[in-house]
């Protein structure tokens, strides 16, 4: 089954190298391949979900398909599919406006398709060292995607990303080595496989496990944008082309959180779970607070959305740290809700950027007459992301907060206060943007259907998830929580 992923990925890459003489058609040809790639992966994932017994192991147990990995892959494939559709119109526009050169397109789409393959295999990884390698590869590929744009600030942003993420990841490998030695001591043969770690968790020395956990956590936290390793995130998200910002925010941050969740599931079975929980909650609250305080003075819409990603990752960390089955259920739902809403927000801001050639809210005038869809996308997206009722984020926030209240009331108040600041930051930008009018109207940027369609689809999905909880999803999330040993 997993070989099918690899083969189809390679085929798509192979087709990319077919010479295509008409340069005007090249963007569309490469984009069609990217769409086909995501569709194939989505179908394969659905087939895996339905027909493959879970957990299943492949390639000498280096790869594993279990409920959590399939769930994450499914989210990633949906986001990639929407992003590929959006990219059709968006990249064409980038070429027209000279923001990306035609000769760079193949590199762009190669990195794009390769990123999908790497992301899928990172989720299907059973071995932590292999997971680490694939995580590093996502850094490399997303940095390449950021620098294909013709701007020097993008190089600075990409470098900052590469340095922060990979420096932190070096600490992860120290942690992995300690963990390997620890399991070798406990079982005779060292291992870094998630499934064996779960089985052996009880026999690991709690002090040394916590020590190793802290090291591994540093790297994964940097990939997830957790404070204080978040410094790369706002710049990278804001400077990247919007279609890449989506992948960074809705897919790549998830991988960091996924790694932490897996590691926590192991920690949960050791006597070390208590200090580990406190570490996660501490970092989570710090992350939410720093993000909330940084959001209020923002005038750059994309940076605001980027900081909101940091805030949500912090919230997920708090949820994981609480570690009860109910919270984990809602943490998993929150991952989905956040991915969908963030995608809509970045898609909308991408259209606005093409219209006004700026991300600053002061430049966005006559937003409703010029770009009604993007305007509504931004408004509903902002409402959804701050957790207004009838949107899915509301459900997960509410349920996780109730559990947090049981854990510590003062902490609940601190986080609520932070959420208030976040809501104020979004409201401040929207209230100031909407009434702005220009004396001379700029030419309207015609948004192609391929860019509208994903936004409309996302809006429908978000509203549906906010008012109706599908039974299938409920069963799936319950199964995941069970499979993680909670």
């Amino acid at each position: 089954m997993l070989a099918a992923y690899l083969i189809s990925g390679l085929l798509v890459m192979g087709f990319m190298f077919l010479r295509f003489s008409l340069s005007s058609k090249r963007a569309d040809y490469l984009n069609t391949l990217a769409i086909a790639h995501s569709v194939i992966y989505l179908i394969l994932t659905v087939v895996t979900l339905i027909y493959l017994p879970q957990p299943s192991f492949f390639f000498n147990r280096y790869l594993m398909v279990d409920p959590l990995s399939v769930y994450e892959v499914l989210i990633a494939c949906v986001i990639f599919l929407l992003a590929s559709l959006y990219a059709r119109g968006y990249v064409r526009r980038l070429v027209q406006s000279g923001e990306i050169e035609v000769r760079e397109l193949r590199l762009f789409y190669a990195a794009y398709n390769l990123l999908l393959v790497v992301v899928v295999f990172a989720f299907y990884c059973n071995n932590m060292a292999l997971f680490w390698i694939l995580l590093e590869l996502t850094t490399i590929l997303s940095a390449v995607l950021i620098v294909t744009l013709n701007a020097k600030e993008n190089i600075v942003a990409a470098l900052k990303y590469v340095f922060t993420a990979s420096t932190a990841m070096i600490f992860s490998i120290i942690g992995l080595i300690i963990l390997f030695a620890l399991t070798r001591q406990a079982t005779g043969t060292g291992t870094l496989n998630w499934d064996v770690l779960m089985q052996q968790a009880g026999s690991l020395s709690p002090r040394l496990f916590t020590f190793a956990f802290i090291f591994v956590f540093v790297g994964f936290a940097a990939k997830a944008g957790i404070v204080p390793f978040h410094t790369w995130l706002p710049q990278a998200h804001a400077k990247a082309p919007s279609v890449i910002s989506v992948l960074l925010s809705a897919v790549l941050l998830n991988i960091g959180i996924y790694g932490i969740l897996r590691l926590y599931a192991v920690a949960h079975l050791t006597p070390a779970w208590h200090p580990v929980s406190l570490i996660l909650i501490g970092f989570g609250v710090l992350t939410i607070a720093v993000a909330a305080l940084s959001m209020l003075p923002r005038g750059n819409v994309k940076k605001l959305i980027a900081f909101s990603s940091i805030e949500h990752m912090g919230f997920l960390l708090v949820g994981i740290g609480l570690g009860t089955p109910i919270v984990l259920f809602w943490v998993l739902f929150h991952i989905l809700a956040h991915a969908l809403v963030k995608t809509q927000l970045f898609f909308s801001s991408g259209i606005l950027h093409q219209q006004y050639h700026s991300n600053q809210f002061e430049d966005m005038k006559d937003i409703f007459t010029l770009q009604p869809l993007a305007a509504w996308g931004l408004i509903t997206g902002s409402m959804a992301i701050i957790g207004v009722p009838f949107f899915p984020v509301f459900l997960s926030k509410l349920n996780i907060l109730i559990q947090l209240g049981n854990f510590s009331l003062p902490l609940l108040f601190v986080i609520l206060l932070c959420f208030l600041l976040v809501a104020a930051a979004f409201a401040a930008i929207l209230i100031r943007t909407i009434p702005q009018t220009a004396e001379t109207k700029p030419a309207q940027y015609h948004v192609s259907l391929s860019m509208r369609l994903p936004i409309i689809a996302l809006f429908a999905a978000i509203v549906m998830l906010g008012v109706y909880f599908p039974t299938g999803l409920h069963t799936m999330l319950t199964k995941i929580v069970g499979s993680l040993g909670f």
Binding site: F17, E101, V102, R103, E104, R106, L107, A110, N127, A129, L130, W132, I133, E136, L137, T139, I140, A143, V144, V147, N150, A151, K152, I155, V156, A158, L159, V162, F163, S166, T167, I170, F171, I173, I174, I177, I178, F180, A181, L182, R184, Q185, G190, L192, S205, R207, L208, F211
Partner: protein, 225 residues
């Protein structure tokens, strides 16, 4: 098997030499000397792996020693030198936060800190004194590499800091555990890719955007139209 005591002594001498190269990486300002120091450091670490191989007879260690020499002492150094030539930059004189003397002092403090924390945890894993010594030197080297990243302004020197970190981890892994060879190999390939990318980006910072995109394309030839 060679005399065990002699091998242990050689390892200790190599540790001191590795620390000396770390001190040089923190202080040296001429870029070409920095590359030389890095290359020498990689040779020393390969030598440590080789000595450990003589001691344990594990083939993985021998392969690691060869891999380190090939990838770090030759390949990475070559790529860095080539890019440095096209950047027309010879020296890195800019420091942030710390002067070289300050860095050396902080570096020394770091070694003690690492020793203090690791001596509390690691003896659980092994009682071999050399094992703890190696782990401490490895992690200290990693932290000193990180210090280079923080205190130097030029990206190309920062990359050297990153490479030093990586050498530290390698040294650490030699003493703590042998990961499966395939994993070690993949990690090294990954890191080489990362270094090439970072170096190309570093070139981009100091050149025009056109030159940068030419370079980017020349490193990914097969994507060229």
């Amino acid at each position: 098997m060679m005399n065990l005591q002699l091998l242990n002594d050689i390892t200790k001498i190599l540790f001191v030499l590795v620390m000396a190269t770390a001190a040089l990486i923190i202080t040296v300002r001429t870029l070409s000397s920095l590359f030389n120091v890095y290359s020498i450091q990689s040779w020393f670490i390969a030598a440590v792996a080789f000595v450990l191989y003589l001691k344990n007879g594990s083939v993985v260690l021998l392969l690691l020693a060869i891999l380190t020499v090939v990838s770090k002492a030759f390949l990475v150094s070559y790529v860095m030198r080539r890019i440095q030539k096209s950047m027309h930059m010879k020296r890195d004189l800019e420091f942030r936060y710390l002067t070289p003397i300050g860095s050396i002092l902080v570096g020394t403090a770091l070694i003690f800190l690492v020793y203090w924390s690791f001596s509390r945890f690691l003896p659980v894993l092994s009682s071999d004194g050399l094992f703890l010594f190696g782990a401490v030197i490895g992690v200290s080297l990693t932290l000193m590499g990180m210090m280079v990243i923080f205190t130097r302004k030029r990206v190309i020197t920062k990359i050297l800091g990153y490479l030093t970190m990586e050498n530290g981890v390698l040294l650490f892994s030699l003493f703590i555990a042998e990961l499966p060879f395939i994993i070690e190999l993949l990690i090294i390939i990954d890191l080489v890719m990362l270094i090439v990318l970072a170096t190309v980006l570093a070139f981009g910072i100091d050149s025009s955007i056109d030159e940068f995109h030419n370079k980017l394309n020349s490193y990914v030839m097969w994507f060229k139209e």
